[in-house]
């Protein structure tokens, strides 16, 4: 009884500073878009930022858009996959993005409201005198987020125009009573409980370094490069194609059946055949291959944890490459049954390019990264833009977030590299050991922020938006 009673008590607001107003947090990323209620610890709705397009046969201009995991992974005829986000982590296709986000919110979080009784036609009086007045209110109510303030995240380098677009969608399309635009770097720092931190966010398309001071990003110190999760995938593709014989990546949707084969033996599977004209677009296959590679990255790829770099020399005199050859490999089975023990060197090699540009594989489509694009170089250039008094503090509070930071040994290696680069400073990493916290770091920070009682005064209200227009975002969300 006692416990039951305790659960009915509201948590002491003074204890955690929370005062939840059922706000929503929307955290769009290149790979996934996260949405959920503020105050929760995991986003309830995780939707791929990719969307499917099915061109209509009759009118080619009219295409059907598919959102969500359940629909975009089905090889529908002539389906093509696009992403609402651009490669540098900003929104590219605003119209679709708005739809995708709405889907993410309404599919899991808020239902589309049933038509109000006054206008559902069942209770229609003969003459509706006050229709105009009520219809206005109704319109407002029909909007999907009429009751929920919305906190949206953005990257640190988001341009002013894009920021304004965000509030316009929230206010005009969704009818949010209040809105806030927060930097995902700041939020990731909050998720780790740090107001001042150097946030290293390794996403799918971009790796970004954001210095955060007292909950405000230092714009000049924000650096980014494309050496992130997709870069590793491309490295893997190059690695597979360069191996003898080339390793084929066959996505799941192409396999109808398969029989187990020995390691290294060619796959014995029956493949799915598509009627001519109904094949999915190559982008679909690319997207599906990406899923296989994600699995591969999660299970096989490993970061060389030193000492030194993979391309360097060990203390014993030999190269680290030779040392890496001695390490055990890891088996992996492709969807078609082909499997092999992947040698340790390959496992290390795939991601080494993030730390050491010389070790990156390249071809015509994948230009080699520049020396300034590696993580260490990014951090160095970011720190050089920051006040010198703040640097040791930032190095002591490095927050690592983003799903692509989940490679085995990543944190150790980064620690080692940074300590070597800054021997006089104590480098400390804050990297959650929980997959969810690492993946949704910025969303969790947003969830914390939007549920704080002291945050209420920061919201940009609808009234303020009406008064000042979308330019208010620049003024308020600094």
């Amino acid at each position: 009884m006692a416990t039951g009673q305790a659960s009915t008590k509201p948590p002491d607001a003074n204890e955690y500073g929370g005062d939840e107003i059922s706000a929503l947090v929307l955290d769009p990323g290149y790979s996934t878009t996260r949405a959920g209620f503020a105050g929760e610890d995991v986003p309830k709705s995780i939707v791929p930022s990719y969307y499917g397009l099915i061109p209509s046969e009759s009118t080619p201009k009219h295409t059907k858009q598919l959102f969500g995991d359940n629909s975009i992974n089905i090889p529908l005829p002539r389906i093509s996959i696009s992403n609402v986000m651009s490669k540098d982590g900003t929104v590219e296709d605003w119209d679709t993005a708005a739809k995708l986000w709405e889907y993410a919110i309404t599919s899991r979080l808020t239902n589309t409201k049933p038509t109000p009784l006054v206008s559902n036609g069942l209770n229609d009086p003969n003459e509706d005198i006050t229709e105009d007045i009520t219809m206005e209110g109704v319109e407002e109510q029909e909007k999907p987020l009429g009751e929920n303030p919305l906190l949206m995240t953005e990257s640190g380098w988001n341009a002013g125009k894009d920021r304004e677009k965000g509030i316009e969608i929230a206010m005009e399309n969704w009818g949010c009573p209040a809105f806030w635009l927060a930097r995902n770097g700041v939020l990731a720092a909050f998720a780790s409980g740090k107001p001042t931190a150097l946030v290293i966010d390794i996403g799918a398309s971009t790796i970004s370094i954001t210095p955060v001071h007292d909950g405000l990003i230092l714009k000049k110190g924000v650096t980014r490069s494309p050496l992130a999760g997709n870069f590793v995938s491309n490295q893997l593709r190059l690695l597979f194609s360069s191996s003898q014989p080339p390793i084929p990546i066959t996505p799941h949707y192409l396999i109808t059946s398969k029989t187990p084969v020995d390691a290294g033996a060619p796959a014995q599977a029956t493949y799915r055949a598509f009627a001519p004209g109904t094949e999915p677009h190559p982008s679909f296959r690319h997207f599906q291959e990406e899923r296989v590679l994600t699995e591969f990255k999660e299970s096989v790829v490993n970061v060389w944890t030193g000492p030194g770099r993979l391309g360097g020399h060990s203390a014993q005199g030999g190269t680290n490459m030779d040392a890496a050859r001695q390490h055990p490999g890891k088996p992996f089975e492709m969807p078609d049954g082909w499997n092999q023990m992947f040698p340790a060197l390959d496992r290390y090699r795939a991601i080494e390019g993030i730390f050491d540009h010389k070790m990156a594989l390249s071809d015509a489509n994948n230009p080699p990264p520049s020396p300034g694009q590696t993580v260490t170089a990014l951090i160095s250039s970011s720190l050089s833009q920051v006040d010198v008094d703040l640097r040791p503090h930032l190095l002591g509070n490095i927050v690592i977030t983003g799903a692509s930071s989940w490679y085995a040994g990543f944190t150790d290696r980064l620690q080692q590299e940074l300590q070597a680069a800054y021997p006089g400073v104590r480098v400390r990493m804050v990297a959650s050991g929980q997959m969810v916290e690492r993946k949704f770091g910025s969303w969790i920070g947003g969830s914390i922020l939007a549920s704080l009682g002291t945050f209420h005064q920061l919201w940009i209200s609808k009234k303020e938006y009406d008064e000042h227009g979308s330019g208010i975002v620049e003024k308020r969300c600094k």
Partner: protein
């Protein structure tokens, strides 16, 4: 039990009007054959269920000790906001614990809040619990006029200053952020004529220090404008001081140093670590060294460290700090030492200063006693330095000899001095004193008089001994002369050859004895003539002069190795204590021995006198030799004694 049953029991008639017959639904009774149990009967009939049917019943409602209170989505305002945004949160019904009522202005209630606003809520909107945390930095306020008169700066336009002040207020003086976001673009200046080459000046690159300096300048000046320095509170004044004293150049230098420190390479860092280790090792050793030196200083009574100055400049360097630490340690230690000394003096080991006040402890003795210490000036808390006059007044002595333990009184010393081992000697001393007209009990036994008295007694003793010796030698000489005459008479003309060497010896001996004799004679004469007193006085004077000179030399000696000696002394202190107690006995023993020797000498002399007279067979060569030896030993003994005294 029905009411009627009760009445039956009590034998009462049925009271009241007969009840209106309630319409009862008569159930048709199914009667089975008698003589069968119900269960069996149930089995017989087909329609009867085999098991009893319990009507489905819900679990009883739990009886809660509290009344359930529903939650409701309560709208609330926020006084920190100016736009009257109304948000909703879930609150227990009727729970207004942490929300103050927010007065809602009509304008607010008209706001186009997205929420459905019921009238009730609109009238009594609760304020957010968090509104009170809304604090803003006070931004410096100035008018255009004030700016023109007080705040003008060549480098900063008013627009840029305004921009800076706004930015500072926006970011609550987080200078790192302000410097990061500072993007001032000077406005396009209106061109007066097309030909003028006036171009908008490019935005000057501003460093964080420049901004800070400008802002502090403006803030400090406006502070004074609004509130003159004289009427500022202390905190305001402090803030003002801080702002006026901001030095951007120094700050830049500091940052440069910080950057250099941060950009150290691994080698530099290792080297620095190595140096630091080395330094710490040295410092450790230094501490030891300092402690040793410190102990030494403690003993010598030198105030450790450099003279104290009131500036902190000397503590800026690590060396100065180390010294400070040492000083502090020293103070601690000296305190401890003092405590120890106090304890010791309390235990009654005092008594080294027969004439001095007993309050002086040993630590002070060390500093007061011993000539060399006078050289050093005492630091704070050291014992007062006495002038020679005061020392005399208080009877402070600087004894060079070993002090006997325990309390002594002067009269004891007087009586002791006057008493010799043998009664004969004592009476002789007494006689000598009476001869000198000195009463056995001194009339005014001051410390000085007593020492003089003691010295006099010593001299008398020496005199007596010398006299005794001379008498003895006289006697012997007489004896030998008599013998010689006898022998001469006997061997006249016989063995002249044989005698020659002994003769020579005898001659020599004679010379010696003659000298002694002469001295003794003279003395006796003097005594007889009663001029002794003067003579003695002269002797004494000489003695004292000698003493003084000796003392001087002694002093010098002590000066040279005072440290070492003192060290040893300190260490032996405790031993000494014990020794002090033993000393008197030893001293007495020594005296005894001396006197015994003298007595023995006497006795021997007597014996020999006797022997010399009786056994003529003894070869006089050997005898003479023995005599010579003895006389030499006596002389050396005397001289030893005197030298011993002198040494003391």
């Amino acid at each position: 039990m029905m009411g009627s049953d009760a009445r039956d029991v009590l034998g009462l008639p049925s009271a009241g009007p007969p009840k209106a017959a309630t319409p009862k639904v008569q159930k048709p009774k199914v009667r089975g054959p008698t003589g069968m149990s119900r269960e069996v009967l149930d089995l017989k009939y087909e329609g009867a269920p085999p098991i009893s049917i319990v009507a489905p019943k819900f679990k009883e409602k739990p009886k809660l000790p509290f009344k359930p209170r529903p939650w409701e989505e309560t709208p609330f305002g926020n006084s920190a906001r100016k736009d009257g945004l109304i948000l909703r949160h879930w609150r227990r019904k009727g729970d207004v614990s942490n929300a103050a009522a927010l007065p809602v202005t009509p304008a607010d209630s008209n706001t186009a809040s997205e929420m459905e606003q019921d009238e009730k809520a609109a009238t009594t909107l609760s304020d957010s619990h968090w509104a009170r945390f809304n604090v803003k930095v006070a931004r410096p306020q100035y008018t255009d006029e004030q700016y023109e008169t007080h705040l003008r700066n060549e480098d900063w336009s008013k627009e840029e200053t305004d921009y800076l002040v706004d930015l500072a207020a926006d970011f609550d003086l987080r200078w790192v952020v302000i410097a990061d976001r500072y993007e001032y673009q000077p406005k396009e200046q209106p061109k007066e004529n097309e030909d003028s080459m006036a171009v908008t000046p490019p935005a000057k690159p501003r460093t964080q220090e420049d901004m800070k300096a400008r802002y502090y300048d403006v803030a400090a000046k406006t502070m004074v404008l609004h509130n003159p320095l004289s009427s500022m509170s202390s905190s305001e004044f402090d803030a003002h001081e801080k702002m006026t004293k901001y030095d951007p150049n120094q700050e830049k230098k500091r940052k440069m140093c910080a950057e250099q420190l941060m950009n150290r390479t691994d080698e530099e860092k290792n080297e620095e670590e190595m140096l630091l280790r080395e330094l710490s090792r040295i410092v450790l050793n230094q501490e030891k060294l300092f402690n040793e030196r410190k102990a030494l200083y403690d003993r010598l009574g030198i105030p450790p460290g450099v003279p104290q100055t009131h500036s902190t400049a000397m503590y800026q360097s690590s060396q100065g700090l180390t010294q400070l630490m040492q000083n502090l340690l020293a103070q601690n230690k000296s305190k401890e030492l003092e405590k120890k000394e106090k304890r010791r003096s309390a235990m009654g080991a005092e008594g080294d200063f027969p004439g001095g006040p007993s309050g002086l402890d040993r630590g002070q003795r060390h500093s007061i006693g011993g000539g060399p210490d006078k050289r050093f000036s005492f630091g704070q808390g050291g014992p007062r330095q006495l002038s020679a006059r005061e020392e005399q007044k208080y009877g402070v002595s600087h004894p060079n000899e070993r002090l006997t333990g325990g309390v002594q009184f002067r009269h004891e010393r007087i009586t002791k001095a006057g008493q010799a081992k043998s009664g004969v000697q004592t009476s002789r001393i007494g006689a000598a004193l009476t001869e000198l007209r000195i009463p056995p009990r001194l009339t005014m036994p001051t410390a000085k008089v007593v020492t003089e008295y003691e010295r006099l007694i010593e001299s008398i003793k020496t005199l007596l001994e010398v006299r005794k010796l001379s008498e003895k030698l006289d006697g012997e000489i007489k004896v030998w002369q008599a013998q010689k005459e006898q022998q001469e008479a006997k061997d006249r003309g016989e063995e002249v050859k044989e005698e020659e060497p002994s003769q020579a010896v005898e001659n020599e001996e004679e010379d010696e004895t003659k000298e002694l004799d002469e001295q003794a004679e003279r003395r006796r004469k003097a005594e007889a003539e009663d001029d002794d007193e003067d003579d003695e006085k002269e002797e004494e004077k000489e003695d004292s002069d000698e003493d003084a000179s000796l003392k001087g030399s002694h002093k010098d000696d002590e000066d040279t190795f005072a440290g070492d000696q003192d060290d040893e002394e300190e260490e032996e202190e405790e031993d000494e204590d014990e020794e002090d107690e033993e000393m008197p006995d030893e001293a007495e023993g020594e005296v005894d021995d001396d006197e015994n020797d003298a007595d023995e000498g006497n006795a021997n002399g007597e014996n020999e006198d006797e022997g010399a007279s009786s056994p003529a067979s003894v070869a006089h060569t050997t005898r003479s030799e023995g005599l010579r030896k003895r006389s030499a030993s006596v002389i050396s003994h005397i001289s030893n004694k005197s030298s011993k005294r002198q040494r003391r």
